[in-house]
Assembly symmetry: C2
Homo-oligomer: 404 residues x 2
């Protein structure tokens, strides 16, 4: 019957993450300024700073002079505390990437690779992950000993085998133990929706507000819901699947097997289908590359392309309204290819539609904006790996990690 | 830039609510058992129990004997600490009800009334509220001095004047100050969605799980989302408007002015429209009373009625799937007239559809059930008034209250 309770230990843990993120945002700061910026007491900040100093996660930067009053000691995050590696695994496209970040989430090096061999074989994928990880470490001249953690960005996130048709099948989710054994490094796995939300908490809109939704618009679409500064995970870590909520009952067939999902209208293939409905003979309907399709569509080459983008903007506005109605965020950030190539055209329509359709005043103070974070999926999974390290050394106690 | 932070003060506050709710559920308990049942430490429970004893909210019940070990002191909530009054205001139907509860949320007396006069005039409504409140207090032989608080259950919850067409218009929301001045009692106002979720936390599924959604199916439909034991309010307290999320893009016109809302299919009028689509000449389509309509439909008088209920079950399953996809609860409870009159017929279809359509394993361990709480709206607003009292005396610090 006992339900998970937050304890004062968890509060200290949250305070550490808060101070760490705030210091990262500030670049350099002092205990007093951190107290001001975080809303925590000076006493709490001092305790937290001691904890973080002890583990080398932040450092003192000498006197931080002021003309008035006694000088205080400056603080900053310690980029050289170690390295975290973000790995992107796209089994469907046989594509892999690994990025090495410093402990301030600054990018150091990137390696990319193609998965050769049978994609449905977990070992093939694990081999490829190991190789691209080593290549990225080489490029960043990073010793394995300096790696605080590895974050694997993996779509899906199913715990149990599911029938092919339902959700993204990804056999590697069933073999995470083997992946960890092979890499011999602390590994954490997260899906892109939650990684992007984590990036927003560390590096983006989460710095200025506590209730936000991060929307990913790519081949798949989905959301990360942050309430009171905490990512909503749900009872089995499956929350955020906005792409598989209803857009039209009994509507277009979604690749998840359900009919009428948001993703079937706002995923890249959904947008292509909208174009095909408007202009069945349009040359872009035959463009096989999804990214190239979006890029070309975003150039608005003709009336049909413009109509497609406008209709998609209405769809997006209507679907975002659902998030406003249900969780009433302060900010919605958009990221992903579609955000990159189409959102500039779409945002005026989207904003208008959301304000008009949201219940009551739920959208009155809402900001809808393109995420300011570079490569938010990778930055986010690096942040998750960093949080995982902080958990391993006892600085973070709140439950937050899904796999491994 | 400072975002609202939870402090250790808030944790103590949450612990007090937790202990209070757990004790209410147990009837009688001891400090050790409370620690076991809540997952809190014995030390925390002891401190919390002292705080609650000091304010007379709980009482000691003498020795709680065991055959083994020394006897310990029993504890129970103190029903006679005072009274809370729940008031239901249905301006649209010119109906009012007031219920007096004891401090254990036990029902003592009910008074009902019709609002006479101009419903759009706030003073008319305020007069009527005052009268029904006094009538209920008389019936419960309760002195005004014993009233710890009054909770007003009011649909809507808009902060700013909205155009007639958008959301439930309810002028009294604009005159809450006058209502409070007139009643000269601590007043709190909450919409039915959040009140029902609060009831579930105090008296229902919230006792056994931390992630749940309470779905209200009546004239209007909506949800209360509980994450980690806390009701999701959103940035302007508007969260939970599931009834105004999309069921079908550009579908049926909803009374909120938007097209295709869930409420236009699952609200009572929506169900009637489904019947009219199946059998335009069906006698029940002319039944003016919404409750009588549901009651009659629930008797499944003919094939058309059965078809309507089945189709509604499919609609409900599809719409609940959205909640599963987005917030991934452990339990969904259903309440409201439709739950009462139709859900027994609908649940098998609903459960099947939710499991089939939810992404991955999000619904694998999900329970969908009819709320076990009697009159959850009123019980919930009474619980909100009790929480408000606990806040007034300093026992509860977490933000939680919307109005007044």
């Amino acid at each position: 019957m006992a339900v998970d309770r937050r304890t004062s230990r968890d509060i200290r843990s949250e305070s550490r993450l808060t101070v760490m993120r705030t210091l990262l945002a500030a670049g350099e700061s002092t205990r007093n300024r951190l107290a001001e910026d975080t809303g925590l007491s000076v006493g709490t900040v001092s305790t937290v700073v001691s904890d973080l100093l002890k583990h080398g996660i932040i450092t003192e930067t000498g006197q931080f002079g002021g003309l008035i009053g006694r000088p205080t000691t400056g603080l900053r995050t310690n980029a050289d505390r170690g390295r975290v590696v973000a790995v992107y695994v796209d089994v469907e496209e046989a594509y892999l990437a690994a990025k090495v970040y410093d402990a301030e989430l600054g990018e150091l090096a990137l390696a990319e690779a193609t998965i050769e061999g049978r994609l449905e074989d977990a070992d093939t994928v694990i081999d490829a992950i190991e190789r691209v990880l080593c290549a990225a470490l080489d490029r960043a001249r990073t010793n394995r000993d300096d790696v605080l953690g590895v974050g694997i960005l993996l779509p899906g996130g199913m715990r149990r085998p599911v029938k092919e048709a339902v959700a993204v099948p990804n056999p590697i989710w069933l073999h995470l133990d083997r992946l960890r054994d092979r890499l011999r490094l602390p590994v954490v796995v997260e899906n892109p929706l939650k990684a992007r939300a984590t990036a927003e908490l560390w590096l983006g809109a989460g710095r200025r507000c506590a209730n936000l939704v991060t929307v990913t618009l790519g081949i798949g679409v989905g959301a990360g819901i942050v309430q009171d500064g905490v990512l909503t995970r749900g009872s089995s870590d499956s929350a955020g699947e906005w792409g598989h909520t209803l857009f039209t009952f009994d509507g277009r067939l979604c690749r998840c097997g359900r009919r009428g999902c948001v993703e079937a209208y706002l995923g890249v293939d959904g947008i292509r289908q909208t174009l095909a409905e408007i202009a069945p003979e349009h040359p872009l309907t035959a463009e096989a590359g999804r990214r190239r399709f979006l890029e070309a569509l975003g150039e608005l080459p003709d009336r049909e392309a413009t109509d497609t983008v406008e209709r998609t903007a209405h769809y997006l506005g209507a679907a975002l309204t659902d998030l406003v109605a249900l969780v009433n965020p302060e900010v919605i950030t958009l990221s992903g290819w579609t955000a990159r190539f189409l959102c500039e055209h779409m945002l005026p329509i989207v904003r208008l539609r959301v304000v008009e359709e949201s219940p009551g005043d739920a959208a009155a103070d809402l900001a809808i904006e393109i995420s300011s974070i570079h490569d938010p999926g990778m930055a986010g999974i690096a942040a998750v790996a960093l949080e995982r390290f902080m958990r391993d050394v006892g600085l973070v106690t709140t439950k937050m990690l899904p796999a491994i």
